[in-house]
Symmetry: C2
Subunit: 318 residues, 2 copies
Amino acid sequence: MGRRTPDVGALVAGARDGDPRSVARLISLVEDESPVLREVAAALAPHTGGARVLGITGPPGVGKSTTTTAVVRGLRARDLRVGVLAVDPSSPFSGGALLGDRVRMGDHAGDPGVFIRSMASRGHLGGLSWATPQALGVLDAAGCDVVVVETVGVGQSELEVASLADTTLVLVAPGMGDGVQAAKAGILEVADVLVVNKADRDGADRTARELRSMLTMAPDAGWRPPVVRTVASRDADNGVDDLLAAVEDHRAWLTTSGEGERRRRLRAAREVEAIAVGELRRRMGDVGGAEALDALAGRVLVGELDPYAAADELVGRL
Amino acid sequence: MGRRTPDVGALVAGARDGDPRSVARLISLVEDESPVLREVAAALAPHTGGARVLGITGPPGVGKSTTTTAVVRGLRARDLRVGVLAVDPSSPFSGGALLGDRVRMGDHAGDPGVFIRSMASRGHLGGLSWATPQALGVLDAAGCDVVVVETVGVGQSELEVASLADTTLVLVAPGMGDGVQAAKAGILEVADVLVVNKADRDGADRTARELRSMLTMAPDAGWRPPVVRTVASRDADNGVDDLLAAVEDHRAWLTTSGEGERRRRLRAAREVEAIAVGELRRRMGDVGGAEALDALAGRVLVGELDPYAAADELVGRL
């Protein structure tokens, strides 16, 4: 409103030069479903595909933000450019090149090699925003070697982050009780690397042992997730080098097994399909109108049509 | 497999006569996506629309199954025919006319006025099965005055059950701590009636008071959810009459305000749209093939196409 039409070409050029304001603006454009969204996607496309995506998830209180900070520190020490998308409403995540006003400054403040963006989650249940893949594309085109997507593991979001990531880290903490028990089935499904964080606490041995024993029962998919112990804190990053080594191992396996290519292809297919379904849904609302759907619903209600026959009519209008 | 093609007409006639085996078989047909699914939907349509749908949800451990049993007992005492869909993997729900082997017998064993079916949830995160609306239609056509849908309130499922129900009961228990706090935002969104169960426990007053105070802050939508206290157990159903009175009040409000008609229409529209989207998704997989989508994904991966342009191509093939 009142803002002039953005010069998408200039913004993409700026982002590729590492200008944080251009990166921030592009992410805002995709997040806000700007009318230039398609133009942005088209301009980014030739420059994407270089970034690895690292998902970090786990239940509330497990230390995701601290671990993300430590991981970013480790990646920067290896001279990698890093993007962070923090999709966690409760995250106190902080730092780096300031991308938008929802981010506070912190450890990485002013480091031009780190872009950090906090993103709204989808509703109070914590699902990833639909714009997350698009925001990933912006950071990818901006030359990030690694993009970390941090999200709280509740509801669907741990599955969603795993479907976006090349490598998914699932964090657990010792002594978290029933919640962890309940989540374990889900954890094992999505984890490429399991991280027992706060490993200086009582019960860390037992938690690591239990996870390993559950893993031995899982079907062999060619990669057995390692269980790494960390104590990530403001002052010490014990175990984070092991963690990054495990990520590297997984990366090598992704390459040699072909699983990496398979995941990326599947991810692209899923994104294309989601956009197509969104477009078709829009057309069902537009062509003939939401009125058509409402009229069909009325006929279903009185038993004149069954829902399948009504759906056929709706599809027939497209 | 090996089973003969079902006689849908005879099954629907049987269900309308109150034959539990016919009801069970029809629910299995929709749940298993039988080839006769559309035939079943068409045969049911003229006989649906009579049942009220009562959603019962809440966090694990709050006493949903016991409350459901008590509610069913209360409805039976009012001479109403009742169907129950228990979409809760952990539910020890039991009783009634045995609909399928996943249900155990209990309080309502052999009562021909109660149909009970336990349904698989969608994945370990507890979402409603896609077949829930279809199963509802079967129980509706079978002459149930009320269908109770019981589901554990985690992740998306509390929203899903509310979108199906005419009236949604949300159960909380005193002293459940942070989980309840965290869930409250969601609870207030979906609850038509709030039930403080286990109201003989310490903290029940405080919980009821807190809920009421949160409700006074919610925007006025014409209906302020009452807070009812219950102690549902195997031996006593204290407060269940109040609960059913609150459900009746809500029903009257649904009628006079027109909100009931609006909800039912919206529900039917959502079901039709979901079937249409599923059909379109299937066509995107079929026409041109999953291969087409995979090929488009490959072109997106190498930066030759952006995801929006790829989606346009996919939609263009329909």
